[in-house]
């Protein structure tokens, strides 16, 4: 196996161990998630909050809700991780690895996403079994989803860079949620003229628009817009990684990696 895969497995294992270390905490999280999904299935769509913009149908609400919570999770993950580890003191030790900081934190973010997604899928599966409902997951959703997740990771690395340099960025994280809401919910694909292209070039918006196409308007995928969505995903992901590299360099130069 490649060293990077070993790293990913090690991170997955670490995430799992830390997750189940306090069973009450883990159980509490699972219960809350279960409650939310159950409420969605019972028809209380308002609990999905901002995610309800993906349509009235149950499939759309559930997928929209999962996407919204995952994107929030991904976006906060790296920055929160960095802050906690700088405070506890493990960050400097971790950055002595021959893996680059970007590789390392990407592996971490992927591992925690996989863990989180698995938990959600298991909970959903159990609810589907219990309620006898069925969810439709059109394969056309996969590529737009990928573009959104890439954009989210780019965003996450940008916030991570801010955390490395400025340390306390809780306020920024809260504000960033409003930005996220705009990026995911604003129907930029319906904006007029050149404003539309501007809207589509923002992070995640093109992918979110395609999701609305498939789930709400029940339209097919527009290949040009899919290409735009994927390009935008890759671009923002790259931008995030590049900024993060520079932020790590800057933090090392200033000697503030481990400061709080």
């Amino acid at each position: 196996m490649m060293p990077v895969m070993h790293l990913f497995w090690a991170e997955l294992k670490r995430a799992w161990i830390q997750y189940i270390r306090y069973p009450a905490e883990a159980l509490g999280g699972i219960l809350i998630t279960t409650f939310f999904f159950y409420a969605l299935f019972a028809g209380a769509q308002y609990v999905a909050g901002p995610a309800s913009q993906f349509g009235e149908r149950l499939d759309a609400v559930v997928i929209g809700y999962v996407l919204w919570t995952l994107v929030i999770f991904v976006v906060n993950d790296i920055a929160l991780n960095l802050q906690v580890e700088a405070q506890t003191g493990t960050l400097e030790q971790v950055l002595l690895s021959p893996f680059s900081a970007a590789t390392l934190f990407l592996a971490r973010a992927c591992a925690s996403l996989v863990l989180r997604l698995s938990i959600v899928v298991v909970i959903l599966g159990v609810i589907l079994l219990l309620t006898g409902s069925r969810l439709r997951f059109p394969p056309a959703l996969v590529l737009p989803l990928v573009s959104v997740v890439l954009g989210a990771y780019g965003f996450s690395f940008l916030l991570g860079s801010a955390a490395l340099i400025w340390k306390r960025i809780q306020q920024l994280l809260i504000i960033s949620q409003f930005g996220l809401l705009f990026l995911l919910a604003a129907p930029t694909e319906e904006w007029p003229g050149s404003l539309r292209w501007l809207g589509q070039s923002l992070s995640m918006t093109a992918g979110a628009g395609l999701l609305r196409d498939v789930m709400v308007r029940e339209a097919g995928l527009d290949p040009v817009r899919l290409l735009i969505a994927l390009t935008s995903g890759v671009f923002y992901f790259g931008l995030g990684l590049l900024t993060f590299r520079r932020a790590v360099r800057a933090a090392k130069d200033r000697g503030i990696l481990g400061s709080q």
Binding site: W9, K13, R21, T90, Q93, S97, P98
Partner: protein, 249 residues
């Protein structure tokens, strides 16, 4: 921690995926949090081993060996947060040795440890040196530096202001002017008091005096004391603390 000069991450040897410099360095930085507290020592060793580029199997095997050598076998499956400070420090050192580096950086390895744990960590450090690894130890605890480091360097505001083999440095500072403590069997009489004071001898009590000066002058002091019976004559060793203070002020 601040990287001066080139960041080893950016130095890449031809054809080598990982930068060579980091592969040869292990570090335990100041403070107790070089480990994940929710995980056990073995889990920490396995995780950090992979992080240092080892395969999971090698990481586990070396981890087990290190726990054995460091006398932590019984604690391998206990969460790190429940271990004593001394044991945590040992696990942190074990983690730093996983990839078998040639150089180990230790920052304040005994800070905040109780006497017994500090002794254990000290003997562990000697053991590591005996196994052929170099250690660069930074500390404010000068007795630790004196006991463990050779050579030793004194740093002020990031600049080395003295550097020598430890014994040599101590001899050098003790050399020119020795300090002698003389203990007498019987009390000093007023005449001798006066004579001694004239030679600049410090009177510590009626039975004890201290004299600082070149060895030749010592005999003049002894001449004054003659023929009083002596209990002891001892040269006071300079230690790193004295030297450090002298260098700084």
């Amino acid at each position: 921690m601040r990287v001066l000069g080139r960041d080893p991450h950016t130095v890449r040897a031809a054809g080598v995926a990982f930068p060579g410099a980091l592969a040869q360095v292990g570090a335990v930085l100041e403070g107790n949090r070089n480990l994940y507290w929710r995980m056990t020592p073995l889990q920490n060793l396995e995780y950090f081993g992979v992080l240092r580029g080892l395969s999971p199997r090698t990481a586990r095997q070396r981890g087990l060996e290190l726990l054995e050598t460091f006398g932590l076998r019984e604690k391998r499956d206990v969460a790190v947060q429940t271990l004593s400070r001394g044991m945590q420090q040992k696990v942190a050192i074990a983690v730093a040795l996983l990839h078998q580096p040639a150089l180990l950086l230790l920052d304040e390895p005994t800070l905040g440890l109780d006497v017994e744990s500090a002794q254990a960590v000290k003997s562990l450090i000697r053991q590591i040196v005996a196994s052929g690894r170099a250690i660069l130890l930074t500390t404010h605890q000068l007795d630790i530096a004196e006991a463990l480091s050779d050579p030793v360097a004194v740093i002020r505001q990031g600049v080395i202001i003295a550097q020598a083999p430890t014994g040599e440095l101590i001899r050098h500072f003790a050399g020119a002017v020795g300090t002698y403590r003389i203990e007498l069997e019987q009390g000093l009489d007023p005449w001798r008091f006066e004579q001694l004071a004239r030679q600049g001898v410090e009177i510590l009590g009626s039975h004890q005096v201290r004299f600082s000066g070149p060895p030749e002058t010592l005999y003049q002091v002894l001449e004054i004391l003659k023929p009083l019976p002596l209990l002891s004559l001892k040269r006071e060793e300079a230690d790193l603390t004295h030297i450090f203070l002298k260098l700084l002020y």
